[in-house]
């Protein structure tokens, strides 16, 4: 893999540090008075999502990480692995549930997801920002209460638990923001 000098750094560039792949979030050139120039960079660890800061002397270089994002369609999970397919080539890929992490609880099948491949191995899955799921179980709705602002837990068909307004009924379809895990609105059958 190529190496990149600090003057090629920009946000989105993928680099290898301490054996892990990172993506540059922010790159700031700093140079005190008459002094040495540095690049102060913020990086996201693509495996853990953790954000770290690093400083390099300007002109130093870092190894690039072979990281690509691809769009795959979610098929099913078998309890251990997730199964995805590239809808163009029909190539299939399996991803351990551990890699998929928390994202797993939002999808049920057919969704297009962004999969991050590092050296051709999947390291992260980003599900769509919004999904529509049906409520499997929740306390009976309080009819007409659209204003009180109270909430109750609802278990979705995928097992995810979401806080919903009191008027929501079992069997309702809900639009959910997967980034925050919050209820957005009721949804119609897709």
């Amino acid at each position: 893999m190529a190496t990149f000098s600090t003057n090629q750094f920009k946000s989105g560039l993928k680099l290898l540090f301490d054996g892990d792949p990172y993506s540059i979030i922010e790159n700031e050139f700093v140079k005190p008075g008459k002094g040495q120039a540095f690049n102060r960079i913020k990086l996201r660890n693509l495996k853990t999502g953790r954000v770290i800061e690093k400083t390099m002397k300007s002109g130093e270089s870092a190894e690039g990480a072979d990281v690509v994002d691809v769009e795959f369609q979610y098929l099913y999970n078998d309890g251990e692995d997730w199964h995805f397919m590239n809808p163009q080539t029909f190539e299939q890929i399996t991803i351990p549930l551990a890699v998929a992490g928390d994202a797993a609880k939002w999808i049920k099948g057919q969704e297009m997801c962004e999969i991050t491949l590092w050296n051709d191995l999947p390291i992260a899955v980003v599900v769509p920002n919004f999904v529509v799921l049906q409520i499997e179980a929740t306390d009976p709705g309080v009819r007409g209460d659209t204003a009180s602002g109270g909430t109750k837990p609802a278990t979705m068909e995928t097992g995810a638990v979401v806080k919903v307004p009191l008027f929501i009924e079992q069997g309702d379809l809900l639009r959910i923001d997967t980034r925050t895990g919050e209820y957005v609105s009721r949804a119609k059958e897709e």
């Binding site: 003057n7 700031e28 050139f29 700093v30 140079k31 005190p32 008075g33 008459k34 002094g35 040495q36 120039a37 540095f38 102060r40 770290i52 800061e53 690093k54 400083t55 390099m56 002397k57 300007s58 002109g59 130093e60």
Partner: protein, 313 residues
């Protein structure tokens, strides 16, 4: 080309023109002569932290100036009296929110003045440019003490390494740092963060490692008699009680070449015009360089230097 447009708004360009008019008025009132000196010179800057732009072709072999310092000192030695210049300066591989390869320097010299008196002059100029807040004065040592609880003058290299070890630098890289790099790293991270909380500050009297071309005082170890004006953490100006002794200046050039070589940077030929001018004799003088775009950026709280530069792409 889709990005042919200027990066500064017409309003920002008008404010720049007004700023330059006020700068010229300040020097008219305080009797400094405006001069124009060559942008293209025969000698490269010897400072290891500045990258020279090389001009080669058209029968010319030279360098774009990193500042007009050499030419202005030659004018002073030839009897010009106080001078100032507003013009472009070039520094390679400097880019980002606060840096452009080509930018505008205002540089001026006051004969018979030291760096403290020059700070007064800078404060007056900034005030007439519209900066109304007071400016704090703080020695480098006091600033360093407040950040690291130790004295920077004569501090041990191991102690500097320990302090820099707390910064997010890779240990392999840090192992190769020399003393001035360690000071720079500490400044870039911790001290500039402290300064950004203090508004406008003159930091003055620097450790020997950060001497540049400043005179030394009589203390032991000596401090370099220079200052930086930093507003909201952004360096605006850099001033010196200048070296006027040719041998001392030549020793500085030699020391810079030694440092450059230890950092794997090619040494440069010493500026013989500069040294010859000093040999004819220069009275005590203080000089300062101020980034015009940086000053405008701070005055109008612009986000980037490109916002106040016609073409800052």
């Amino acid at each position: 080309m889709s990005n042919w447009q200027p990066t500064a708004s017409p309003a920002a360009l008008r404010r720049r023109a007004e700023l330059l008019a006020r700068v010229r008025e300040h020097f008219l009132m305080t009797n400094a002569l405006e001069v124009t000196t060559p942008v293209l010179g025969a000698y490269a800057s010897a400072e290891p932290t500045l990258e020279n732009l090389v001009v080669s072709g058209g029968g010319v072999q030279g360098f774009l100036r990193t500042s007009p310092e050499s030419a202005l000192k030659r004018l002073l030695a030839a009897g010009s009296g106080d001078v100032y210049e507003i013009g472009p300066a070039f520094r390679g591989n400097e880019y980002g929110r606060l840096h452009l390869t080509e930018f505008t320097l205002l540089e001026w010299y006051r004969l018979g003045k030291n760096h403290h008196q020059l700070m007064d002059d800078v404060a007056a100029l900034i005030a007439s440019a519209g900066y109304s807040d007071g400016i704090l004065r703080l020695t480098y040592a006091d600033l360093f003490q407040s950040c690291f609880a130790c004295d920077p003058h004569g501090v041990g290299t191991e102690e500097l390494m320990v302090l820099a070890g707390h910064l997010p630098l890779s240990p392999e890289s840090l192992a190769g740092y020399d003393r001035s790099m360690l000071f720079d790293a500490l400044f870039a991270h911790r001290m500039s963060a402290r300064l950004s909380e203090l508004g406008a500050v003159f930091v003055y009297d620097f450790p020997l490692e950060l001497r540049a071309y400043a005179r030394l005082d009589d203390a032991n170890p000596p401090a370099a008699q220079r200052f930086e004006l930093i507003i909201d953490g952004i360096e605006i100006a850099n001033g010196y009680y200048e070296i006027t002794n040719a041998d001392e200046q030549a020793a500085c050039f030699a020391a810079e070449n030694t440092l450059a070589q230890s950092r794997g940077i090619a040494p440069v030929q010493s500026d013989e015009f500069w040294l010859a001018a000093l040999r004819t004799g220069l009275p005590p003088v203080a000089g300062v360089a101020l980034g015009i775009e940086r000053l405008q950026l701070v005055l109008e709280s612009a986000a980037t230097i490109a916002d106040v530069t016609a073409f800052g792409q």
